[in-house]
């Protein structure tokens, strides 16, 4: 961790590797400053990591990076202990949160953090970059909640890019809050909803047999992407309702 230019720089890393017979170990588990990683009880041959620290940040000017990689045949699940709050900081510049996820052949990675809450006055740019090898499997959830209860949100820009076998199957950016391009809260983009989220599922078999498109309630759908991947996309009044929709969508994929 370093502090420079009015913000904190922190970089955490996880590497999961397969170990015969039937296990995954973590040769790299690097915490850094506010980004604290804890290994928890494994579930079967799956290694589990919880991100416990990011509660107090990122603040304006901070730069956080998290890297998670599942090597060939490894199974890794990453969760977080609590929601991440994007907060206003001393620095006027935006905060950045970069997530890089790599999934190798025959590996499986579940990236299931708690929501990101954009607090009034904050300014955060999130970049989530995911690479899945042709035989790899992924479940990745991201949820954004605009403001704490009854509060106006800060400015939040979040871009998610997913590649499978080197080909981009999903590239989506959501921008909201003060200073975001016009219409973000209007009937085409969020329509007044305060929670928006998605779950990407990558499985090699989706290349041959894509999931069927389906609808979960009024504002949540399951969609086959143009590649071996599917997306659950939803907007909701709050984080709790959003989670219910996304869980239901994920269950529909099976």
């Amino acid at each position: 961790m370093t502090t420079a230019g009015g913000g904190v720089r922190a970089r955490a890393r996880i590497l999961a590797r397969h170990r015969a017979p039937g296990g995954t170990f973590l040769p790299v588990l690097e915490s850094d400053g506010p980004l604290a990683l804890r290994r928890t009880r494994a579930g079967g041959d799956e290694a589990r990591v919880v991100l416990v620290g990011a509660m107090s940040g990122p603040l304006g000017g901070d730069r956080f990076e998290v890297e998670a990689e599942a090597d060939t045949g490894a199974r890794l699940r990453v969760q977080s202990a609590a929601a991440t709050l994007a907060l206003p900081g001393q620095s006027k510049s935006e905060a950045r949160y970069d997530v890089r996820v790599r999934v190798a052949d025959r590996a499986e990675l579940c990236w299931l953090p708690e929501p990101l809450i954009s607090v009034r006055g904050s300014d955060l740019r999130v970049r989530t970059d995911v690479d899945v090898a042709p035989g790899g499997r992924l479940v990745l959830r991201e949820e954004q909640v605009l403001g704490r209860a009854g509060e106006e949100p800060g400015r939040l820009v979040s871009r998610l890019t997913v590649r499978t076998g080197g080909l981009c199957v999903l590239d989506q950016e959501v921008a909201c809050g003060p200073g975001a391009p016009g219409g973000w809260d209007g009937p085409a983009v969020l329509a007044g909803h305060r929670a928006v989220g998605q779950v990407v599922v990558v499985r090699p078999e989706f290349g041959e047999r894509p999931v069927a498109a389906g609808r979960i309630g009024d504002l949540c759908v399951v969609m086959p992407l143009a590649g071996p991947a599917a997306l659950v996309s939803a907007v909701a009044a709050d984080g709790l309702r959003l989670r219910r929709l996304l869980d239901e969508g994920l269950a529909a994929i099976g």
Binding site: L170, G186, A188, A234, V235
Partner: protein
Amino acid sequence: MSRAALLVLADGRFPAGGHAHSGGAEEAVKAGRITGAADLEDFCRGRLHTAGLVAASLAAAAALGVPARELDAAADARTPSPALRAAARKLGRQLTRAARATWPSDELDALAREFPKGAHQPVVLGLAARAAGLGAEDAAHCAAYESVSGAATATVRLLSLDPFAATGVLARLAPEVDLVADAAVEAAGRVRGEGCGALPAAGAPVLEIGAEVHAGWAVRLFAS
């Protein structure tokens, strides 16, 4: 370059199938998210800065000569809704036909051979602009404007909205259309160096979700 060629390409009567699509307005009207001119303006503004920006950048990049295959894949990745991907290809195929008849060009012929069932419409639009002797700025303006004009026209039919009110919405959005087109051209100019990741990826979750809901209706007036 002929400025009038831009008018031909941007004309709402250019026979490329746009009249059968509402840009999500039909679903938004039924869901009660568009009830009048004020909602229509909000809807169009959101559409312009998301789907419109992406379409304009794809069109600009195609006009600059970035290979259609790469741009079409980039469009797929930026369109999670399979209903919207299908609509974009359908419109792209119709535009390919109209553009080939209007401005015969080897590039458009090659596009028709490579994508017999259609490439994403904005990619075709960029190549049509190129065939018409127009540039990336023209292609981007055309795509950005189309991203709002179709929804406005459809809403006039769906809500019997005063057509003067709908046209007023488009006129008020014009300065933002210019800004979006400029941003799109700037991004398109970086594709050669940085790849298609340089293109904007602005998404509109409610548009994508609504498109899937609309595709499931048994009875509807518009194709999308």
